[in-house]
């Protein structure tokens, strides 16, 4: 055999089986992530080297309970295994990853996999935990019963994958000598066949596995509190509070550093390059635009740090259990809780996280309301307007009025999300009520390596997006707000004479009923790129430096230029802030349609307009301005 493309090995297994941890242990940093053709399911590939020096390509398939394929994730897993996937080379070998403490479901999957005609190795993962808990598995017996090699693995330890690597060597050697293989006989089982499979599995387990007969004591002890009808939700609230505190307070220093870094870059480029369109494009378009988005990287990383930790620990499934009823009242699935929570940092990771919801309608509903969660990009705008227009005063003895307004804006977002979900569930997304069937796994300590790989992955995904979609949007916006250049002898800021300025003047009559002047409209247009860019844009329009240090100057300018009803109307508008293009772009990618981003933009625009209109006129009535 001469040079051939590396053989492909696919990792298959139930959710929570430690499959991804095993993938990380086997491939280390030699991995890459992309999407499968036509769907937005993550496709993770890595390279590994066996003890005999073979280079194998390892593919980490999404977690699945069977080959039936119900969610996009499960369909991908099935199609890759069966060799039906588009533009995907079928794997030569399957490694079925089992949680050794809970074999029943995965053994049924293993029996299904055997019918695909591809060689299967069963990896008994988390073998250390199983042994500690007194689970006694007759590995040779199990191997004989299943008709496939069975090896114990411990993915959290480096030496724990040795046996699997050796088994891969043996299996690959056999591939060469046994070209016939077994024919593929898999077809979708009905309920009776599933029962028959399950019976077979139970018989095998009865002969080869001895269980201590008790679940993990620590898990049971903790669950008495975590899942308690009263204590459980209280604890959940405390966890959420901690996460939010961390997202907003820990991220401050790194965000300032990133902002300073981009400012330094702007200064550097300004100093090095001669003035001209290219410098303007680099400094005002690309660097400031990409910087405005990259500045959110710390918040996204901290949020995902917690999400990965809570997920690996086993808490996320429990949060879904606790929240299911509440979420169900407005037609949301319990699993929607995690994506919506993520959306408080940024709707982009939130919408990406909605993939965990199996039912397409439920997933769509979650995606559509995700941007109503107050994302961190709105905070600079809220902060600016509140500082300018809400007096720093204490009400009801102890409550800071500015903080109260901020809180009210968050609540307004959540309440409108509930309302929109309620309406969508009765109109566009009528029908289906997805069952909740969720395994609450035993608690376990999150692995550091897994955490690290997860974070690197997220950061890469986010930065790539910032570097492509957002950067190109920034260039377009820079062009719109820089050209045509102001005529000689012009007095106002340059943006007044640009296309964006013209557009602002053209659109202003449409927004006059909600009290917006053309300056606000121009700032809203630039806010298309990212919501918080509006702060910088207002600075440009009012010819005030809007760098973080001088934002008090901008606040003072606004306070003298706008009336209170105008400011309140703008705050109401920003609860919906329909103009975030990145959110619409990611919705387009995730739904693979133009219809849903259009629906999203449409309903948010209507709500923003109605809310701003109502607020403006109500405030005028009350204040008499």
């Amino acid at each position: 055999m001469s040079e051939m493309p590396a053989l492909r090995v696919a990792l298959v297994g139930n959710p929570n089986s430690g499959k991804t941890a095993l993938f990380n242990a086997l491939t280390g940093s030699r991995q890459r992530v992309a999407n499968y053709a036509g769907v937005t399911v993550e496709r993770k590939l890595g390279m590994l080297r066996t003890p005999q020096g073979r280079e194998l390509e390892l593919i980490d398939l999404p977690g699945t309970y069977s080959l039936r394929g119900r969610s996009p994730d499960e369909i991908v897993a099935r199609d890759v295994i069966l060799g039906r996937a588009d533009r995907e080379i079928p794997p030569d070998l399957l490694v079925c990853v089992a949680d050794a403490t809970s074999l029943r479901l995965v053994l049924r999957l293993a029996l299904e996999l055997r019918r695909t005609g591809r060689p299967v190795i069963l990896a008994l993962n988390m073998m250390d935990i199983a042994r500690r808990r007194g689970v006694d598995i007759d590995i040779e017996g199990l191997s004989a019963e299943l008709g496939m090699p069975v090896v114990p693995t411990v993915s959290v330890r480096r030496a724990g994958t040795r046996t699997l690597l050796e088994a891969l060597d043996r299996a690959v050697a056999r591939l060469g000598t046994d070209p016939t293989g077994t024919p593929a006989t898999w077809r979708e089982p009905d309920a009776a066949e599933l029962r028959a499979l399950d019976n077979a599995v139970q018989a095998i387990i009865g002969r080869t596995v001895r269980h201590p007969g008790r679940p993990a004591g620590f898990t049971q002890w903790l669950d008495r509190m975590v899942l308690h009808p009263v204590l459980g939700p209280a604890l959940l609230l405390a966890v959420l509070f901690l996460v939010f505190q961390a997202v907003f307070s820990w991220a401050e220093v790194p965000m300032d550093l990133i902002a300073a870094g981009f400012a330094w870059l702007q200064h550097g480029v300004t100093a090095l390059m001669p003035a001209g369109p290219l410098r303007s494009l680099l400094v005002n378009g690309l660097i400031s635009g990409v910087g405005a988005v990259v500045v959110f990287l710390p918040q996204i990383l901290i949020l995902f740090l917690f999400i990965i930790l809570l997920e690996d620990f086993g808490y996320m499934a429990r949060a879904a259990f606790l929240m299911d009823r509440t979420m169900g009242k407005v037609g949301l699935h319990g699993r929607a809780f995690i994506p919506l929570l993520s959306s408080f940092a940024c709707a982009i990771p939130g919408i990406m996280a909605a993939r965990v919801i199996e039912n397409p309608r439920d997933r769509l509903l979650t995606t559509l309301i995700a941007p109503l969660m107050t994302c961190s990009a709105r905070i600079p705008v809220y902060t600016l307007l509140i500082a300018a227009f809400v007096p720093r005063r204490t009400v009801w003895g102890m409550i800071n009025l500015q903080g109260l307004v901020m809180f009210g804006l968050y609540v307004a977002g959540i309440v409108s999300a509930v309302g929109v979900a309620w309406i969508l569930k009765r109109t566009l997304l009528r029908g289906s009520l997805e069952p909740l069937l969720l395994e609450l796994p035993d608690y376990k300590l999150p692995g550091l390596r897994n955490l690290y790989h997860g974070l690197v992955l997220r950061a890469g995904f986010f930065l790539r997006r910032a570097g492509t979609i957002i950067a190109s949007a920034m260039i377009v916006l820079w062009f719109l707000s820089s050209y045509p250049v102001p005529p000689a002898g012009a007095t106002g800021p340059a943006i007044n004479y640009s296309f964006a300025g013209m557009l602002g003047h053209v659109l202003q009559p449409a927004l006059a009923p909600v009290g917006f002047n053309w300056e606000i409209v121009v700032a809203l247009i630039t806010g298309l790129a990212a919501r918080e860019v509006m702060v910088a844009a207002l600075g440009t329009v009012y010819a005030v430096s809007a760098t973080t240090g001088a934002s008090h100057g901008l606040a003072a300018t606004l306070a003298s230029q706008w009336t209170l009803p105008v400011a309140l109307a703008l705050l109401a508008w920003y609860v919906f802030a329909p103009q975030c293009m990145s959110t619409l772009a990611v919705t387009q990618r995730e739904t693979r349609s133009w219809r849903w981003p259009a629906v999203m933009a449409g309903y948010m625009l209507v709500l923003a307009y109605v809310a701003a209109f109502g607020t403006f006129h109500l405030a005028r009535l009350v204040t008499g301005v």
């Binding site: 309970y65 029943r104 309920a191 009776a192 029962r195 009808p229 299911d324």
Partner: protein, 115 residues
Amino acid sequence: MDLTATPPLPGDAGATAPGRQEGRTSLAQLPRYLAARITAIVAEASAHESGLPPGEVERRLVEMGFVEGATVRIEHVAGLASDPIGVRLDGRRLVALRRREARCILVEPFDGPSR
């Protein structure tokens, strides 16, 4: 359409014959902490509401390990409505499901309080 009766499932030989009236306690009605054995998984009466293809809930329940003969015990209930429930399956795995789906799982409580 076929809401009036739950037809027996094809090839459902292992299951208790539907139509047997005694022992028709469903998991949804099982008191907390009382252990029971599953006697049958019946086709969901609420299939028309869920918008899922017929038999789908049953298949998912079976896939999750809710099969005839398995023991179940409700250990956790969520919130004031006590829904969804956390069910200990075969004394080991903990699975969350809503009472709506639990109605499809018929059980026979063990005599006396469970150990």
